[in-house]
């Protein structure tokens, strides 16, 4: 039972999600990691270093899913599993790959019970579906935050492939959110802010606390819609799904759609004026009060305690 894992590559580097997906699927069989892109060498070296990688396959070319999904389909004949993380690239690509193969994919997997049995959340995580997939080839996406990362210290061979890829689509602009904080989807600590912050300027309270803690920054849909935070900080059913060891929610009441994104958090701390807010009720620790009073004091107190990450 062999696995073709398609790596997530961001600006030439291997995205943290890939190591987690690798550890999730390593038990299914030998894993070949496919790295696509024009500057894929560094990412390929990182993939070769991950424990569980049997081979790294590198192919240059345009990364537009109409083109590369056909190349992946051509490559998939030797594999039982074709897998990627359930990030925005995997969500875009893998259903296309599956349809080309005439396979029903199983996506956003949070648990692998057996090589043909998987658990995935539905209804924004308010129910869990256990599915059996007896198709000859399995097309899967894995929720990276639900798994620990594979260790490093391997030296898998790297092979170059020449895949012909012709895309009808042209990338004409990218709008990256400049950030020196960790990757939100895989961060160990996340500080999230809601619409109660009131403005993009006030949202910096969240950003300062996050920086102090070496945490990634999250936001609710309402805060993003209001323009307080960029879209890629959105956590929830339609944004990113996080599973940090610690989530600090500031001024977030806890709409169902937001709760969907944080159910994997090990510990939740809520700072809110409303003791009845849904998120306060499910938090492990809550502090009731005005965030504009609490958050600066908390940041200063952590500074005083010498907290550093």
């Amino acid at each position: 039972m062999s696995v073709l894992l398609i790596a997530d590559v961001d600006q030439g580097a291997l995205a943290p999600a890939t190591a987690r997906v690798l550890s999730a699927v390593a038990g299914l069989g030998p894993v070949d990691v496919l790295v696509l892109g024009d500057d894929a060498d560094a990412a390929a070296a990182e993939a070769a270093n991950l424990v569980g990688t049997a081979r790294v396959l590198v192919a240059k070319g345009p990364v537009a899913v109409d083109a590369d999904s056909d190349a992946i389909v051509a490559l998939s004949s030797g594999y039982h599993f074709v897998v990627q993380s359930a990030g925005s690239v995997g969500r875009d690509r893998m259903p296309r790959v599956a349809a080309r193969l005439d396979v029903m994919p199983v996506t956003d997997i949070i648990q692998i019970l057996a090589p043909n049995r998987f658990v995935r959340p539905i209804y924004a995580g308010n129910a869990l579906e256990t599915v059996r997939d007896d198709q000859p080839i399995h097309v899967l996406t894995i929720r990276a935050s639900a798994f620990r990362a594979a260790a490093t210290g391997n030296a898998a061979p790297v092979e170059r492939l020449d895949l012909s890829m012709q895309s009808a689509v042209r990338l004409i602009a990218t709008h990256r959110t400049p950030s020196d904080t960790p990757d939100l989807a895989t961060a160990q600590v996340v500080v999230g802010g809601g619409v109660a912050l009131g403005s993009a300027e006030n949202f910096q309270l969240v950003e300062k606390l996050a920086k102090k803690l070496g945490a990634a920054i999250g936001a609710t849909r309402a805060a993003v819609d209001a323009g307080f935070a960029p879209n890629d900080w959105q956590v929830g059913q339609t944004g990113k799904i996080i599973a940090p060891d610690l989530y600090i929610a500031i001024g977030i009441s806890g709409a169902l759609q937001h709760l969907a994104g944080i159910q994997g958090a090990k510990k939740i701390i809520a700072i809110n004026t409303d003791p009845e807010a849904p998120l306060v009720k499910l938090a492990d620790v809550a502090l009731i009060g005005d965030l504009f009073d609490i958050v600066p004091k908390l940041t200063a107190e952590l500074e005083r305690l010498g907290v550093k990450r």
Binding site: A99, P275, I288
Partner: protein, 252 residues
């Protein structure tokens, strides 16, 4: 251009769902149903393109039980011109849905197919991409902006690292994200008028598509419940807890 919009009737997104104790699924009887929110953004996008002079005809298709007529009527009230219900009482898998839609694309030959990026019941996020694969069309998923430029589209997508803009030729498939637009609520005269717009109902069998499920759903269970925690009284106490947590956290 001609625009096809595919929409789904789902449990209303404000309903707190209940998982049946026997593990057979989520309770949907007696529960408020409505158009999937992402589909509403897709319909709105089609109507706005039409209002800007880019859409000659908007055809709306839904696949589901007779009651799914409701969501087609909603779309017709929003400004779509014609509806098609592909009737089935079975809960079809996304691959079967995409195959049925591919047949509709063959019949209707739309320049643009708009869909919601995912349905909030199964959260699959498959159908647009599958339809693009089956019809050999380029795709732009998770759209937050759609512009008609020359003979093609420029679509801005919301992705994990921010946003990106793609240029794609028509015909194409685009799936809508939440910030694409603000869907309108149709006024009563439009709702009345929608009832006189053409709405065809055709059984799934007529399309000659194999819709047999590929997967077996073994059980549907509720997620593990979180137990309520404690309330602390001061910032100092909270800071102490956070400092302890960080110092005991396993290094990754």
């Amino acid at each position: 251009m001609k625009i096809l919009v595919a929409i789904k009737r789902v449990v209303d997104h404000n309903v707190r769902i209940r998982v049946r104790p026997d593990g057979s699924g989520v309770e949907t009887t007696g529960v408020r149903m409505s158009m999937n929110p992402f589909c509403k953004h897709a319909v709105e996008a089609a109507v706005q393109l039409s209002e800007a002079g880019h859409g000659d005809e908007i055809v709306v298709v839904s696949i589901g039980p007779k009651a799914a007529n409701d969501v087609i009527l909603t779309a017709l009230a929003m400004g779509a011109h014609r509806g098609l219900l592909i009737e089935t009482d079975a809960a079809l898998e996304t691959l079967a849905i995409a195959k049925l839609l591919a047949k509709v694309v063959d019949e209707e030959t739309p320049d643009l197919v708009l869909l919601g990026k995912q349905a909030v019941d199964d959260d699959s996020n498959h159908v647009g991409q599958m339809l693009a694969a089956l019809t050999n069309r380029p795709q732009a998923t998770f759209a937050s902006e759609i512009k008609v430029v020359g003979q093609g589209l420029e679509v801005t997508r919301e992705i994990d690292s921010g946003r990106e803009t793609l240029a794609l030729p028509l015909p194409a498939i685009v799936t809508a994200d939440l910030r694409l637009n603000t869907p309108r609520n149709a006024a009563l005269p439009q709702v009345m008028k929608a009832r006189s717009k053409p709405l065809a109902v055709r059984p799934v069998a007529e399309f000659g598509v194999d819709v047999a499920p590929r997967l077996v759903i073994e059980t549907i269970s509720p997620p593990p419940e979180r137990v309520a925690g404690k309330t602390v009284a001061s910032v100092t106490e909270l800071a102490g807890i956070i400092a302890t947590d960080l110092s005991t956290m396993e290094a990754l």
